[in-house]
């Protein structure tokens, strides 16, 4: 008797873990994005011909690049934060500040990258 213990994806995502939970979710999305990028890259090289060119046009598209750069950069910076906190547990007391630092590093770099990608793609 009773409900099963299973926690669905939507239920889990609705948990109000705030800032740290958001970074956890974005880290997973980032990892998945990197896998998609590498897979499409390998697939286009492997297939070659018109199919390879078609896949090339997808991952060379500016929108895809903006998404992939978000994934790679966020995954890298967030990963570094976790590695630092894991190696020096005493710093965990400052985990909230660490997340603010992470966003302070991520946002300007990402903004510059987006401007460069857009100006290259749309500027002519």
């Amino acid at each position: 008797m009773g409900l099963k213990r299973n926690v669905g994806l939507v239920t889990g995502l609705r948990y109000q873990g705030r800032g740290p939970m958001l970074t956890f979710i974005l880290h997973r999305i980032g990892g998945l994005g990197i896998v998609i990028f590498v897979a499409t890259h390998m697939l286009s090289s492997f297939l070659g011909g018109p199919a390879g060119v078609f896949i090339n046009t997808i991952y060379e598209h500016w929108a895809f690049q903006i998404f992939i750069f978000f994934c790679a950069l966020f995954h890298a910076i967030n990963g570094l934060r976790i590695v630092v906190l894991d190696l020096w547990p005493r710093l965990i007391e400052h985990q909230r500040e660490a997340i603010w630092v992470e966003w302070a590093v991520f946002l300007p770099i990402y903004a510059i990258a987006v401007i460069v990608i857009l100006s290259t793609a749309l500027g002519g």
Partner: protein
């Protein structure tokens, strides 16, 4: 002020699926969510089921998800959560009825880390002395009340109830860093197993949810560090 409290309802003898039921009641800002649940049960709907005991944040019976986050109902004031309150059972444990969950997997994991003092030396005449500095080393992790707020906020535990979980790590930390205890090595081996600390992804949900404000992620970090270096610094 008028408060609306929306409560997760499930009666295994009647319901195929869980549902939510909203109750309106008068409250003041300093009322606790537990007071509201008591009012609902006492005056509006006697079938509502939830656990409570001391009602003062010590027994850890009334852990539940309040507005989407694990908290103790007896320590959560209306002014902290607003006039619209949603109350649901904690995640990752089987719901028995309404807000009551089956805590067995949680306590099974707790027992695995041997949460008792082990010292095979003959007991001294009076007591085993310990310096204030040595006592301070694990002071934070002595505060755990086993409410399960931490463990049931952890995505790794949502994935598998075999995962030891933050509460078990807190208990392990309490004895591993006690310089009078002699089973630190055995406990470190247990937390180093497949379902041990390596499954902690440093999400911090446990630390944010702990009603005793224990730095749980830090304690887990110290366990990881002890495993990596072999030192109990």
């Amino acid at each position: 002020m008028e408060v609306t409290i929306k409560v997760f309802r499930y009666n295994p003898e009647k319901d195929k699926k869980p549902s939510y039921k909203a109750y309106k009641l008068e409250a003041v800002e300093t009322d606790r969510v537990l007071d509201l649940l008591e009012k609902v049960k006492g005056y509006q709907d006697g079938t509502l089921s939830f656990r409570r005991s001391c009602a003062h944040g010590i027994c850890g019976s009334d852990a539940m998800r309040i507005n989407g986050m694990n908290r103790l109902a007896c320590k959560t004031l209306v002014r902290d959560v607003g006039a619209k309150i949603t109350v649901e059972p904690i995640l990752g444990l089987r719901v028995i009825k309404d807000l009551i969950v089956d805590m067995k997997p949680f306590f099974d994991n707790y027992k695995k880390v041997m949460p008792w003092f082990i010292n095979n030396d003959p007991a001294p005449e009076k007591e085993r002395y310990q310096s204030p500095e040595a006592r301070l080393r694990y002071d934070d992790t002595t505060k755990c009340i086993l409410c399960a707020c931490c463990t049931t906020s952890c995505p790794s535990f949502w994935g598998s109830d075999e995962y030891l979980g933050p509460a078990a790590f807190v208990s392990a930390h309490r004895f591993i860093f006690d310089d009078r205890d002699q089973a630190a090595g055995e406990r470190l081996e247990i937390v180093n197993e497949v379902m041990g600390v390596s499954r902690c992804h440093t999400v911090f949900n446990c630390t944010m949810a702990c009603p005793r404000e224990i730095q749980i992620t830090k304690a887990i970090g110290e366990l990881k560090s002890a495993l990596m270096t072999g030192k109990l610094d």
